[in-house]
Symmetry: D2
Subunit: 328 residues, 4 copies
C-alpha cells in the first residue's frame, strides 16, 4: 500500500448563520475559535495544536463539503491519487494556499460517492489543553471520527479495509449475516469512520472526544441554560458498541455532532472485530434506551467534488432501512 | 402544633420474590442488607445508622403497606394521634416490639387515604459510610423522599402545609392556576414528600440519595450488565424541578425507585416556593427529554391500614390527568 | 431556649486589594458578584437566593470582622440579646439599614471572644442555580460552615451545645480524653461551626459547599492555569472526619477557604457524635495524607466588636498545640 | 528499521507474598486475576483481551524480571534480535511454551542495562469491559507505560528515538539544556516508556490506565478502607507533564504503580515535543504539589537477563540527582 492514512482530521460543514452557529459551538460546546470572517469559522478543540478540526462555511443550504483525513507523509498524497485514479474514482488537487491554513490536499470521491480529502500539512497553533481557565461548555477536546450513512455498507467496509488499510473494531450484522454497520479505524481507537446502512451517502455525524462523562452531563445542563434543550437529540448514554459515553446534538442547521468519550485501545494485531446482532437491545445504548426516529432517518447530504451547487446523488439503502426490532 | 415531623424515614413495599428483589436492590443498587428471613428483607444505605429505610415484604400481589416519617420526640406520637383523631382520620397504634427493630409507631390514613406511619425510635446499626471497600452498584446512600399520586393535589398540599407543618419548595401549576404537583419538605431539602395529580392514592416512587452523578451513570452500566436494562424507566437526567440529577427504575415487581442527587438547601425562612408551568419543557427534565407514558400512568397501590388484604380505594384525578403538552 | 439559630450565613473578611481578591474568588472560585464598590465586594454562590454569603472589605490589614448566623424569626434576636447580656458578654445592635442588604443585626462576642452576628432578614436576589452557562471555576454553590481556632475547645463546645442549642456530629479527643476539636451543627449537616485547639480566637477557614468532587478537581486545574497554584494549601482529599471531599485554599491575603462536598445527614435524634482519636491517621485525611504545618498554625485574627482597629486578644492553646503524632 | 514495536505490554515483578499482593491488586485496584498458582499471579485490566499485562512472581527479594513490548509481526522479533546483536547487546530467546500464555519472545538488555522483552503472540481471553457488575476498586482498565530511572537519560533517549523508532512527546531539561527526563511513545499517547535521571537502571513504576478521574479518587477511598492508606505515595493530582490525572501507589513489597488517565493524542507528524524546565513548579504536579522524597529516590532493581539471582548493576546518575528546586 503506497500510503499511510493517520486519522480523521477535519470536516467542512455548511451553516446558514455563522453567529447562530458560533453561539452553539463556542458557547455551548466549548470549541476554540481559531479564526473567522464573514464566510468561515475555523474551530478546534482544547487539546488540538492543529489550526482547526471543524470548519463552518456560510451557505444557503446545508451540506458537507468534505471530510478530511491526515496522512503520515506528503508523499502519501501521490500514492492516494494514483490509487483513486486507477480505480476510476474522481480526484482533484487543491494546491497549498488554496485552502486557508492547509497544505496541498487531494480530494476524491470514495466508493460510496463521499467527498473525502487527504492532507499532510496544517498550520499549527497554540494548544490550550492546560488553559483550564478557558474551559467552558463541553470542554471540547479533539475530533475523533466520522459516521456516514451509505446504501451499501458492505461495499464501503470492503473498500476501506482491503484497499485503504483500515481495520474493523466492531460491526453490526443482520440475522442473515449482512453487515448493517461497521466501525473502522486507522488510529488505534474504535473508529476514524463508521458506515451505517441507510439512504446515502450522507454524513450522519462528526464525533468529538471529551475528557470524561461529567463533561457530557455538563453539556446538557449548559445547552438547556442557553435555550438549546431541543438540540439534544439522543443521550446521554453508554454505547454498547464502542463502550463510549455519548451525546448526540443537532446544531442550529440540523448538522449532527456526537460528543464521545471512553472507548478503548484497538491497536493489537490479534484484536478481533466485535460482532453485534442488529436486534441486540444493548448494542445502540447499553442501557436499552431507544434512539429517536430522527436519529435513524435524518442526515446531511454531501456536496459534489466538482460542483459546489450540487448534492451528491443518493441511493436507497441496500438492506431494508429499519430501526432495530427492539425499538417498538 | 403539638408535634415535630423530622423526615421521610422508611417504606414497606411488597414484592413477590425476595431473591429476585435482593439481586436487584443489593447487587444492583448497592443497598446493605441489615437482616432478612423468609418474609422480609430490611435494607439501608451506606450512610444510614438506622436499622433500615426500605423494607421488602414477600406477598402475592404488589402494594405499599406504609410510608413512614420519623418524629423528633416520642411524645410527638401522641400529638399526632390526637390531631388525626380530631379530624376523624383512621389511626392505629403498633406497640414497640410489634414491628422488628422499630419502637412504638402510630399509623394513620392521611387526607388522601395514604397509609402513613410515624415513629420515634429505631434500632441503630453500624454506619458503613467509610467502608468504601463495600461500595457497589449505585452506592446507595440514604432514603430521601416519597412521591405519591393523589386525585386532589391541592387538598394534600394544604393538609401537609397547614396542618402537618410541611413547607413547599417547588410546585407545578396548570395554566388556570391549579396545583398539578407539589414538593413538600420537613428536613431542609427539596422534599420529604411530593404529590402529583393522578388516579390515586398510589405510591409513585421512593427516592434515594446518591452521592454524585457518576454513581447514577454507573448504576445504568451495572444494571445493564446484570440484565436489568429494561428496569431503567427514565433518565439519567437533570430535573428542572429540584435541580436533582435523577434515574427512575422499576424493581422486578414494578415498584418504582428514584436515584436522586444534587438538590439544594431549603431551610431559609424567606425561601419562596418556585413555580413551574406544567407545560414548561424544562420542568420535568431540564434537558427537554420526555418521560415515557408508563412514568405518568403507572404507580403502586397502597394497602388499607386495617385490612392487609385490601387496597386503598382510588379515585380518578381531579385535574385532567394528562402528560404535559410538550410531550407529543 | 428563647431563640432558634438556623445556619452559618455569612462572613465579613478583610482584604488588601479588591481587584486581586475578585480575580481569585470570582474567576477562580466561581462566586457570583452581587454588588461591589470601592470598599466592598458582596459574593454569593450559584444556589443562593440571599444577597451574599461572603463579604470582602478593603482594609490595610487582614482580619475577620464577624461571622454571622441566620435565625428563624426576627424575635430570636431579642432572645439572643437577652441571653448574651445575661452572661455578661458584649452585645451591639446594628439597626436595619446600617449594613447593606441586611436587616437588623445583633453582634456579640462569644465565650471565646469571637465576634458573632445574628440576623433574620437579608435582601433576596435571583438564584443562578440553573444558569449553567454561567458556571465557572469551582462552580461555587453556597456557604456551609465556619472553623475557628480557640484556646479552650471544651469551653466553646459546651457553650454552643448547652447554651446555644448546637449539636455535635463528630469530635477529636486526645488520649487523655480532652476535646481537641469539635464539629457542631444547627442545620442537619456535619457542621455550621467547628472549633479546633489552637492559639486564638482566630478564624481558621470558611467552608463553602460544592456540588461534587469533580468541581474540586477542576478548581485545582483552573487555579493553576490562573497562576494560583501556590494558593492551594492542602488537598484535594477525603476527610475521615465528616467524610467530605475537600480542598483548602488561601486567598491573596492569606484568608483560608475550604471547598467542601459530600458530608451526610445529621438530623436524627439518635445520631451519636462520632469520636476520633487525635492520632488516627485517617482522621484528617482519610487517605493518610499529612496537612502542611501552615494549615495547623496559621489563621486569621478576629476584629473587636467595638473597635474596628483592634484585633481580638488571643491566648495560647489550653492543650499542647501540636500536630497529631502521625504527622512526622 | 526492520521491526515495528507496538506498545508497552506487560511487566514481570517479584513479590514476597502472593496473597498479600493479590489483596492489594485485585481487591484494591480491581485487576482481574486471569490465572494463578503458588508461584505466579497473572493480572489484566477490564478492557484487555490479552491473557495478562502484569505478572506477580513469588520471590524472596524484590526485583523486576523484565518489561515487555508487543511487536506488530512475528518477524519483527528477528529484526530486533539482529539489531541488538549487531550493537553487542545481550539477547536471549524464550521459545513458545517456555513462558505461560506467551509465544516466542526475545529478551535483551538495552543500552541502559534494562531487561526488555519483545513478543508478538499472547493467549487471548474474555474482555470484561462491559461486565460493569465486576468493576471494583480502581476499575483497572489496561497497562499504559513504564517509567525507568537511568543514570544517563540522554543516552536512553537517543537510543529509543534514533534506533528503536520511538517518538518524544515531552521532556524535562535542566537550565543548562541537559535532558533530565523524557517521555517516549510508540502508540499515539504520551508514552510507552519514560526515562528519568537517577541511580539505575531501576524500574520507577508501571503505569496503568483508568477510565476517569473519579476512579482515581475512589481508589484512595477503597485503599484507605482496606488499610492501605500508607501505600498511597503521591497524589491524586494533575501532571503538568502529560496532563494526566494520576496517583502513585506502592504495593506491599514497595513496587510502585501509577494510576493514570487523561493524556492526549500524539500521533500527528507535526507534533513537537513539549519542553519543561526542571524547576517549573507546575511540571510534576500542575497544582504545585511537591512529590515526597521517596518518590524521587526509591525504585526497584532489575534482574539480570542471564542470572535470575543477580540484580542489574547500577550507576549513579549522570546529572546531579536532586529534587527540583521548587521542592524545598
Amino acid at each position: 500500500m503506497g500510503f499511510n492514512i493517520l486519522r480523521a482530521a477535519r470536516a467542512i460543514v455548511r451553516v446558514s448563520d455563522l453567529d447562530a452557529a458560533r453561539n452553539f459551538y463556542v458557547d455551548g460546546l466549548g470549541f476554540i475559535e481559531t479564526e473567522a470572517n464573514d464566510e468561515w469559522i475555523y474551530l478546534r478543540g482544547l487539546e488540538e495544536h492543529s489550526h482547526h478540526s471543524y470548519v463552518l462555511k456560510k451557505a444557503a443550504r446545508p451540506g458537507v463539503e468534505v471530510i478530511s483525513y491526515r496522512v503520515a507523509h506528503e508523499s502519501d498524497l501521490e500514492g492516494l491519487a494514483a490509487f483513486f485514479e486507477e480505480r476510476g474514482l474522481a480526484t482533484k488537487w487543491l494546491e497549498a494556499g488554496s485552502q486557508h491554513a492547509v497544505g496541498r490536499a487531494l480530494r476524491v470521491q470514495d466508493v460510496s460517492g463521499i467527498p473525502v480529502e487527504f492532507f499532510f500539512q496544517m498550520e499549527t497553533v497554540e494548544r490550550k489543553l492546560q488553559r483550564y481557565d478557558l474551559y467552558k461548555g463541553s470542554r471540547m477536546q479533539r475530533i475523533d471520527h466520522f459516521n456516514c450513512m451509505v446504501p451499501d455498507v458492505e461495499k464501503a467496509h470492503d473498500f476501506y479495509i482491503k484497499e485503504l488499510g483500515f481495520r474493523c473494531s466492531e460491526y453490526t450484522e443482520t440475522e442473515d449475516e449482512r453487515i448493517w454497520a461497521a466501525w473502522l479505524h486507522r488510529k488505534p481507537t474504535v473508529h476514524d469512520v463508521a458506515f451505517m446502512n441507510g439512504k446515502g451517502p450522507r454524513l450522519h455525524h462528526v464525533g468529538f472526544w471529551l475528557s470524561d462523562p461529567m463533561s457530557v452531563i455538563h453539556t446538557c445542563d449548559v445547552l438547556a441554560s442557553l435555550g438549546y434543550a431541543s438540540n439534544i437529540e439522543r443521550g446521554p448514554g453508554r454505547h454498547g458498541l464502542s463502550n463510549a459515553f455519548f451525546l448526540y446534538l443537532r446544531d442550529p442547521d440540523g448538522n449532527r455532532v456526537e460528543l464521545y468519550t471512553g472507548d478503548y485501545f484497538t491497536g493489537d494485531p490479534d484484536f478481533q472485530p466485535i460482532r453485534w446482532d442488529l436486534d441486540d437491545p444493548r448494542r445502540a445504548t447499553f442501557w436499552g434506551h431507544e434512539p429517536p426516529d430522527c436519529w435513524f432517518y435524518e442526515a446531511t447530504p454531501f456536496i459534489e467534488l466538482n460542483n459546489s451547487e450540487q448534492e451528491v446523488a443518493m441511493s436507497e439503502a441496500a438492506l431494508e432501512q429499519r430501526k432495530p426490532n427492539f425499538v417498538t
